[in-house]
């Protein structure tokens, strides 16, 4: 019983810890986040990247998404494009 518990605990801790290990650089690897602002942990999408990603997902079509889901993605694309328009619009 104890043995099983210990094994489960070990498996659980590894599963949780694994992503953290993966993010760390080995001694031989370059830190691309510090060096080139690429692949940083807290990286988020720019509005243009978001538009591109939404566009790409919509193009996958009904093989991947249901009709409702495509409609939802299209709504989000429209929203992102409207936001970009607002950000770049002239006027007051």
């Amino acid at each position: 019983m104890k043995k099983v518990a210990v094994m489960m605990l070990a498996a659980f801790s590894m599963a949780v810890a694994a992503p953290a290990f993966a993010a760390e650089m080995t001694k031989e690897q370059k830190d691309q986040c510090l060096l080139a602002s690429k692949g940083c942990a807290a990286e988020v999408d720019s509005i243009q990247k978001k538009i591109k990603k939404l566009d790409a997902e919509i193009k996958k079509g009904k093989k991947v998404y249901s009709a409702d889901e495509i409609k939802k993605l299209q709504g989000k694309l429209k929203e992102a494009e409207a936001l970009l328009d607002t950000l770049l619009s002239g006027g007051n």
Binding site: G90, G91, N92
Partner: protein, 463 residues
């Protein structure tokens, strides 16, 4: 055995708390923004917000020295998204002219354009919540609103209110209420709040007849009880259809209403009645490596002979402007968002969208994935020549309506995915409307004002 049971209960409780806590914790923070830098060399643009060539102070002389200046505008947007059906959107704006501004809204500080910067210049653009109670979308707060008349009544206007959008199959129904002026705003007036306010009620119904054909009906009611009771109804029809490679769109709108105890003709009594009219038709199609486009806009004017106001009345009135006509894309003739771009300079012959007929013809070419070039010609007439400048030779207002012809070119290059460098050049050949009307000349010494021109370099970054 007893111990094990406790463990099971604890584990279950723990799992449950994690499961229930997760959705509440999932808040998506989105940051976006934009930055625009503009450099000007122009005898026309002067970092203001004027209806140019309309008065002695905005009229050009026979010979003018060019203004040269630089300005920047940044916008910062933060969106707090609780889930797909609820978010808060905030947008702030920071404007600066190099050299600084210390008057107007900056009179307690500056716009940070001076030595050592230190200006107080953070402006609120939008603050609202956006949520869905299906099938209705609600936007509550200070938000952007553009009418379905291509913005000639209210275009890119930011105003506080409540907007609802309901989607029922092919029908999209927008209903909004906005309050954007109030007699009590300075605190100097005593009375009840809301008793003398300016409100806008908006109704936009759009019906998708098919995938390629849309038709819409709009009704806007401006109830302005702030100064003198002004009630203005605007009723419009709009449509868009894709026929083969060509997209055709247009609208027509009429206005009716009155303003109590207000007169156009001095020395008369009574009310002013409104009878504005606006119409537009536009077409665009893909040709070669780009898009060819053409459009015609008519916004009625007034003869100023009686108290019937026949001029098209935009939301901000007959001198202000929260209206845009983007189809034209003119840099100097009629206010357009695309030509204005990211900046504070906002000078146009028709900054207030009224009293003009404008025909435009243009081509937007995509030269490479990174480079583009646009060319545009615009010809404008005053709808009525009652406000025509005076010819100093005859001392009478010019009899022609022809304002002029504008030629614009713009080219841009994407330095990065989200940074674009642009060059805009515009030249306006003034028509007979301005004959002999050069500023600074005494009566009898008539000269034509110099033709306006503008050259702008721009850097635009959006993220």
């Amino acid at each position: 055995m007893k111990f094990n049971k406790k463990m099971v209960v604890l584990a279950a409780a723990g799992a449950l708390s994690v499961a229930t806590a997760l959705p509440a914790m999932a808040l998506e923070n989105e940051f976006h923004g934009s930055y625009g830098f503009k450099g000007f060399l122009s005898n026309f643009d002067r970092a203001g917000a004027n209806n140019m060539l309309s008065s002695a102070t905005t009229m050009l002389k026979k010979e003018n020295q060019a203004n040269n200046y630089f300005e920047q505008r940044a916008r910062l947007t933060y969106i707090a998204k609780a889930n797909d059906d609820l978010k808060m959107v905030t947008t702030f704006e920071l404007d600066t002219r190099f050299g600084g501004i210390t008057d107007g809204k900056y009179n307690l500080s500056s716009d940070a354009g001076g030595l050592d910067a230190d200006g107080i210049n953070l402006e609120t653009k939008n603050v609202y919540i956006d949520f869905n109670i299906k099938p209705v979308n609600f936007k509550v707060g200070i938000q952007g609103y553009t009418d379905k008349l291509k913005g000639v009544f209210a275009g890119g206007a930011d105003l506080p209110g409540i907007m609802t959008t309901t989607k029922l199959d092919a029908l999209t129904l927008g209903m909004g209420y906005f309050r954007f002026d109030e007699a009590q705003k300075t605190g100097a007036v005593t009375g009840r709040l809301g008793g003398a306010a300016t409100d806008l009620f908006a109704l936009d119904a759009t019906y998708a007849v098919s995938k390629d054909v849309k038709a819409g009906l709009s009704y806007y009611f401006l109830a302005d009880y702030k100064d003198k009771d002004k009630l203005l109804h605007t009723l419009g029809l709009n449509g868009e259809a894709k026929v083969g490679a060509v997209t055709v769109s247009g609208f027509a709108a009429i206005q009716a209403g009155h303003q109590k105890n207000a007169q156009i003709v001095t020395g008369t009594k009574g009310n002013t009645n409104f009878h504005g009219f606006a119409a537009n038709v536009a077409a665009k199609m893909a040709v070669g490596p780009g898009t060819a486009r053409t459009a015609f806009l008519y916004l009625s004017g007034d003869d100023k002979k009686d108290n019937q106001q026949n001029a098209w009345h935009p939301l901000a009135g007959l001198t202000g402007s929260v209206s845009m006509y983007n189809e034209g894309a003119t840099m100097m003739l009629v206010r357009s968002s695309g030509a204005t771009g990211m900046g504070n300079s906002d000078d146009y012959v028709r900054r207030t969208l009224s009293d003009v007929a404008l025909y435009t013809l243009g081509y937007n070419a995509k030269l490479t994935p990174k480079a583009y070039a646009d060319a545009n010609v615009g010809v404008a007439w005053a709808a009525k020549n009652s406000a025509a400048p005076v010819d100093k030779a005859t001392t009478k207002p010019n009899a022609t309506n022809y304002i002029g012809t504008e030629i614009d070119v713009e080219t841009g290059y994407k330095v990065f995915d989200n940074l674009t460098a642009k060059l805009q050049l515009g030249y306006l050949l003034l028509g007979g409307y301005y004959k002999g009307a050069a500023a600074g000349n005494p009566t009898g010494q008539a000269q034509d004002p110099e033709n306006p021109y503008t050259a702008r370099v721009q850097l635009t970054y959006a993220f």
